[in-house]
């Protein structure tokens, strides 16, 4: 592509109220960072609640984490999300090099991994439903005594699972939004909408995906690893 054509593409992507492409790029990037700050505060309310009740009922938290969280599936999901962050980072690098098809492929792989994460998460949710550890009307969790008999779990056990479902559910919602956004960006990237000069949507969607990944990095140890496996 000749220099004048790429310039024309860049001019087309520049919105009327910005003076330069650089100003536009810096503005949208800053906008995404501030949005991520609001997301941190959004999850922050839940992390606060988690902290309060974990301090109030440490035994309950340990028991639920040890006996009801599927450590292997959680670890697998962590690996998947970490790898998906890598592919997103590589896709941002690829578009900076002007490799449109490679960018699209990397983003598409990220989408697949996001879907894989959601699939494994829904298997876990289903298992919780079967064992009766979904709070509310579906709750029928039982605790085993040393002699092998069972008794209904006290109400505090619902708090752990309530927070588990709200926190991972909200996170899964963010993953879903991210998957949709990445799929659209992947498609547009395949169609050649982004160039070496104009690729900010790839960059800021990538930022969002890293955030989604980062939330999970906190959720995983807080929910799965308390009992020190």
């Amino acid at each position: 592509m000749s220099a004048s054509t790429t310039e024309a593409v860049a001019q087309h992507a520049l919105r009327h109220h910005f003076a330069t492409m650089e100003q536009q790029r810096e503005s949208t990037t800053l906008g995404m960072w501030i949005f991520l700050v609001t997301e941190i505060m959004f999850f922050g309310g839940l992390f606060t609640a988690y902290l309060v009740y974990r301090t109030a009922y440490p035994d309950v938290w340990e028991y639920c984490s040890r006996h009801h969280m599927e450590f292997k599936l959680g670890t697998l999901n962590t690996v998947i999300l970490l790898c998906s962050s890598l592919t997103v980072a590589l896709s941002v690098h690829a578009i900076q090099m002007g490799q449109k098809k490679l960018t699209a492929i990397l983003l598409f792989v990220t989408v697949l991994m996001g879907l894989g994460f959601l699939g494994i998460k829904s298997i876990e949710y289903h298992n919780h439903y079967v064992e009766g550890s979904v709070p509310g009307p579906w709750w029928h969790m039982e605790i085993e005594r040393p002699d092998g008999t069972h008794y209904p779990a006290p109400h505090q056990y619902q708090l752990f699972f309530y927070l588990y479902f709200v926190m991972t559910g909200l996170h899964a919602l963010h993953v879903t939004i991210g998957v949709v956004a990445l799929a659209i960006i992947a498609l547009w990237s395949w169609q050649g909408k982004y160039t070496r000069e104009y690729h900010n949507p790839v960059h800021i969607t990538g930022l969002y995906w890293h955030f989604v990944d980062l939330v999970w990095i906190f959720l995983f140890p807080l929910l799965y690893l308390i009992a020190g496996k």
Binding site: H17, S27, I34, T48, Y53, P137, L159, L163, V166
Partner: protein
Amino acid sequence: MASMDLPIERENYLNANYGIKSWLLTTDHKRIAILYLISITAMFFIGGFFATMIRLELLTPAGDMMTSDTYNKMFSMHGIVMVFFFLIPSIPATLGNFLIPMMIGAKDLAFPRINLLSWYIYIVSAGMMVYVILNGGVDTGWTFYTPFSTMYSNSNVMLAGIAIFINGFSSILTGLNFIVTLHRMRAPGMTWSRLPLFCWSHYATSVIQVLGTPVIAITLALVAIERVWHIGIFDPKVGGDPVLFQHMFWFYSHPAVYIMILPSMAVMSEVITCFSRKRIFGYNFVALASIAIAVLGFLVWAHHMFVAGISAYAAVVFSLLSYFVAVPSAIKVFNWSATMYKGNISLQTPMLYAFGFIGLFTMGGMTGLFLACLGIDPHVTDTYFVVAHFHFIMVGGAVMAYLAGIHFWWPKMTGRMYPEPWGKLAAGLVFAGFNLTFLPQFVLGYVGMPRRYHAYAPEFQVLNVLSSAGASILAVGYLLPLVYLLWSLRYGPVAGDNPWAAQGLEWKTTSPPPTFNFDETPVVTWEAYEYENMPKEVPVVS
């Protein structure tokens, strides 16, 4: 000059194109500001209707006009509508939206389409709130305290909560837009130290909106989930703690008070300098006081909970921090007073409102210190003393400043002047009516009348009648501007580009401004508020 028609129809943001679609699909920050102005005015009068019902019921000691359940709904919906749908968007979404790009020499906010989206989000949430009102209302108070809101209330708690949840995103997007705009869109030469204080205050407001609003959103979402699932983290039956709700609620809702008052302070700095013909006293202190308020405002929330069973140690810490937050506010009041000292003061309508603001805000702030004091607070908690205190801040402060700003920038927004004598009359009525309404409530609270009751002991009647009488004067004071401002759209004298001979980039473009604000991007070579080089008097336009 003073003819009834604009001399030559210049291209401006109002006549650039016509038709309902050109408004509903606009991305022009000025048109979005007008859309917000219309919508929040509608919500203001809905909230005002509930206030009228409250004051009518309280004319007599007996609960004779409505049942206690209906009364609960009246004050709840008054609070919810006024706080979330009028006060929080009021100055930022209208004046801030209209003025910030012009004040910094930009063509628009950084994200014009997100700006329009924020208005649509506001409209969806306001529509839901109106539906809640028509569907029987909500009776939890604007504070949604659990476990009443989660377990016992039979009213539309969930819909109201979702409406506020959605409304929060409108607030967040406005704040996000302002922060990015102020960082990245300033014209050449418009450094941070040359920025009008209006922008500094809005920057601080935006920081609170961005950091605080997500917390109330997740809190109300948890309340909604708790109502559906009948189990949740605020539910004592499963080991949850209702006080945690209060912590999370006030973590947003105390800073939210500063979302209401910081933009008012923004207006004050512009109006007082213009009508005193002087540079602001202590620019850096006023600017940084805004930031200090935003930071300290996040550290004082539990002073709403001194009687809720928090530890004595926590109460002492929060009491002390609440005293600290008064310092930057006091700095601002002192600096405005010092700006006026030996200034060439003229008493047009915006300045009258500004005087009202300084007096009433100071009283509201000082009584806030009473409430921050651990010795006095238990005595007056949940009495009319608290009601009077926060109305001095929110109505005496925020609404006064809002009206000051609307009058001050009306010629810029519409190209026409409002009728000055009517403006002065309304400002006088608002001030008199306000004081007659809320001064008696300080006394009522101090002698022990609790808030949120529809019936009261007979010895409180005289003061309550005074309060209701004041409220009717206040209502006239609020209806007058609605009438004469609409009248001035057609019949007001043509204002000219800078009717107040004011400093600030927004006055250097035409009135009403063209769609992209300036014909060419201005280059700023002067400091803010250089009134030394301006006329010594505010010109009189008639």
